[in-house]
Symmetry: C2
Subunit: 219 residues, 2 copies
């Protein structure tokens, strides 16, 4: 199935032309976002917490300390909603009313299942590490049995999802087009800067090529 | 009061050394974040939606179309939780287990009140516009009565809040410090790129100095 089911829950109502339900675009946004925001209900009240994530096929992977409130909640199988948001630019229109931002976002719904075995956990940690920095897993010290025990991992099959995307120039009213106000977009992008070596490390270990490449790709 | 009250709801339990409750730091993070994520409960289920925000003293301001689900929910006075997250860098430790990111985040709790008069709405829209791009309000066409009617504004007094902040180098175990693995931080920062003029506009309107300054400050 190339598209998510469309229900009242995930339908983009405001600006329906910005809605997208195809899995390819939804997954691209999830994969490009470094963090997500997880909402859950506790004692009838809403909570939202930012966290790192990864994706495996049609599921979101979350991890954290075994003792954390968020992980215990997700592992208990209660419903959660996740948002992934990328800001691409400021949209400066001629009228105040038409100001906006360019963005790509995904909101999804599901509930978690605990990942239990050490092998499963190790596979998930590899995915997290490689997502943070491709090439890092093979270089860094692998997790011990104790470290795996201290880590909780939850897999969250995506039940419903939708993307909302705004790109391109301002959309001023026809009658405003002639106003003498500069109109356009200021693109924003997350970039990497020069790496800072741990002050506890001597400089006899050169910066690995995979880190250099990561930074170059994000100049 | 320079600090938010500390309760079981806003206390940072995991890594308590990363918790901060002073209003100055909380407000700095809220003000630097371009968007926030709003969580609310509907029919017992959690929802999370990204949106633009502004701050006025001890309150968060939200705006949107009068018809939007989020605005109607917030205006109805039901409880919401908001998160503001800034990613500052990748923390590459010697061990997989100690990998992390540097970040500054705020989670807060409250419930909204509708802003009703046109004057109040106009003041809030000025704050949003100036936050998006300082100097823009005086340059762009001001909102009409009809546009104000189509816009909902909610003010959300902050009841409880906490910041969680991780900065600095990796924190590897003592026994890992001698491993031959490059360790350190790759800083990340949101930067602005060259502005793109609306293709519907002739180039007889020069780029305003305030936009040029905004971009230069974010190179």
């Amino acid at each position: 199935m190339p598209e998510f089911q469309l229900t009242n829950k995930n339908r983009v109502k405001r600006h329906p032309e910005r809605g997208a339900y195809d899995k390819e675009r939804v997954y691209q946004i999830i994969d490009e976002a470094l963090i997500c925001h997880v909402a859950f209900v506790q004692d009838g009240e809403p909570f939202v917490i930012p966290t790192l994530h990864a994706r495996h096929n049609e599921s979101i992977l979350l991890h954290g300390a075994s003792s954390s409130r968020l992980m215990r909640h997700i592992e208990s199988g209660q419903r959660v909603s996740l948002a992934f948001s990328l800001v691409d630019g400021l949209v400066l229109a001629r009228s105040v009313f038409s100001h906006s931002i360019n963005y790509r976002s995904v909101v999804l719904f599901g509930h978690g299942e605990k990942v239990a075995t050490d092998d499963e956990k190790t596979a998930v940690l590899e995915r997290f590490t490689e997502r943070l920095m491709p090439g890092r897993w093979a270089d860094a010290r692998q997790p011990t049995a104790l470290e795996l025990k201290a880590t909780s991992v939850a897999v969250l099959p995506i039940e419903l999802a939708s993307a909302k995307i705004r790109q391109g120039p301002p959309m001023d009213d026809e009658r405003d087009l002639g106003l003498p106000v500069w109109a356009g977009v200021v693109p924003l992008r997350q970039r990497a800067r020069d790496p800072i070596r741990d002050p506890q490390q001597q400089d006899d270990i050169p910066l690995p090529a995979y880190i250099e490449r990561y930074i170059q790709d994000r100049q």
